[in-house]
Symmetry: C2
Subunit: 242 residues, 2 copies
């Protein structure tokens, strides 16, 4: 058996998320369908993690095992020829038999884009949250820094995953032209965690809650204290670290 | 009567071009529909020029006249609220009564993007020609320079416009990372002219015709000598100069 790792970019707009679901258009489903056509048999794809409906990826990773040997360049070409335009294989390489894209991921980097000027480019609109209202970026920066910790993130998730202790090693907000870009890195995330953190940062930026409220949410561990979940379209899985 | 100029960005992917056509989704049609809702009457929009189906714009310009005075900021907001996400008003200003977006345009800048690496980003795929094959960029650069002239461009158009003399003041090819970006500026262009010029540059880059063949096409003025028209999706109207 050959174990192959693929790195993928996709525009998640028109998909019901990563995970295969009967009768729905999903990223995993499309790739498995392409693999099935190439190898003439069903092949299971293991993703580094699931992305929700509407979430994008610059560098999602996955692996699959095949019993037929095919040159990487040929497989790369065949996959991209069969996949829809909005899912692209960026790279593909042979990995040791024991490699598992989910289990072996050492970290994941997500970015969330907030478009703050009143005119949003039609070329960016699928990939950003449109927010042409005042935001205090200093408050948001201070709040973002509070997420960089090992702690119980129950208050920032849909509260179905246990254990809820996660280690966020990077959490920062940058201003890039018309955009605010929030970057966060952790080995793993809870469900809706990044989007709830962004929702909270927006509440802080609007002056609805002080940055210090984040400490309360960490202590109380109640989802109800945290802010609305930010929309999926602004979120992108930038990289999976191995 | 107030005369208003608007600058527009749009993703042309899902439109049958600029020009209003009954029963079809067009850029002009969408904007006129939004204006009709705002002013409760039919308002004709004059575009600086027509863009073909699938062609994009960063800075298309247009003007329209209204007999009701509305603050610019309010009109800007109302238009962008009513327009679909893939058409955005970038700016809007009052102009003298005699201003006409088409007649008064002093120049137009178009760009054509050619994606040359084997993996095209799903975020760029709607806006580039995917061309993962060898191209000789030096030959293409030399050929591009030959288009910068005042001359009869009949050989590079669909041959329905007369007179066919146009004055191209800028024609250059730049390499930007994975992309070749062709930029061309003229006061006006013939139908399919930029896309046919790009098609010709690609033939030169592939070694199918020498750059010097461009001189022949200028002399012979026969469309059949020129190369296939490059696809619409790579083309973008960057700016209209007044």
């Amino acid at each position: 058996m050959t174990n192959m790792r693929i790195v993928l970019s996709y525009d998640g707009t028109d998909y019901c998320g990563w995970q295969r679901q009967p009768g729905k258009r999903t990223i995993q489903g499309e790739i498995e369908a392409a693999l099935a056509r190439i190898f003439q048999k069903s092949i299971a794809l293991t993703g580094a993690g699931r992305t929700d409906a509407g979430v994008h990826a610059l560098g999602q990773a996955a692996n699959f095992k095949v019993d037929r040997d095919m040159p990487e360049a040929e497989l790369f070409k065949a996959l991209n020829a069969l996949l829809p335009d909005d899912i692209r294989v960026v790279s593909l390489d042979r990995v040791p038999a024991g490699f598992n894209a989910r289990r072996d991921a050492k970290g994941k980097i997500y970015q969330y884009r907030i478009w703050t000027s009143r005119a949003v480019s039609p070329f960016a609109v699928r990939y950003v949250l449109y927010w042409p209202y005042p935001l205090n970026v200093s408050w948001m920066r201070a709040a973002a820094a509070l997420f960089a910790r090992e702690g119980d993130f129950t208050g920032f998730s849909s509260n179905r995953d246990l254990p809820a202790v996660r280690s966020v090693v990077r959490s920062e907000l940058c201003k890039k032209g018309e955009e605010l870009v929030y970057t966060v890195e952790a080995r793993g995330f809870l469900r809706y965690m990044v989007r709830t953190m962004v929702g909270t940062l927006l509440e802080v930026g609007r002056g609805r809650i002080p940055a210090a409220a984040i400490e309360e949410i960490f202590k109380d561990k109640k989802r109800t204290l945290a802010s609305p979940t930010a929309p999926a379209k602004g979120l992108c899985l930038v990289k999976v670290i191995y």
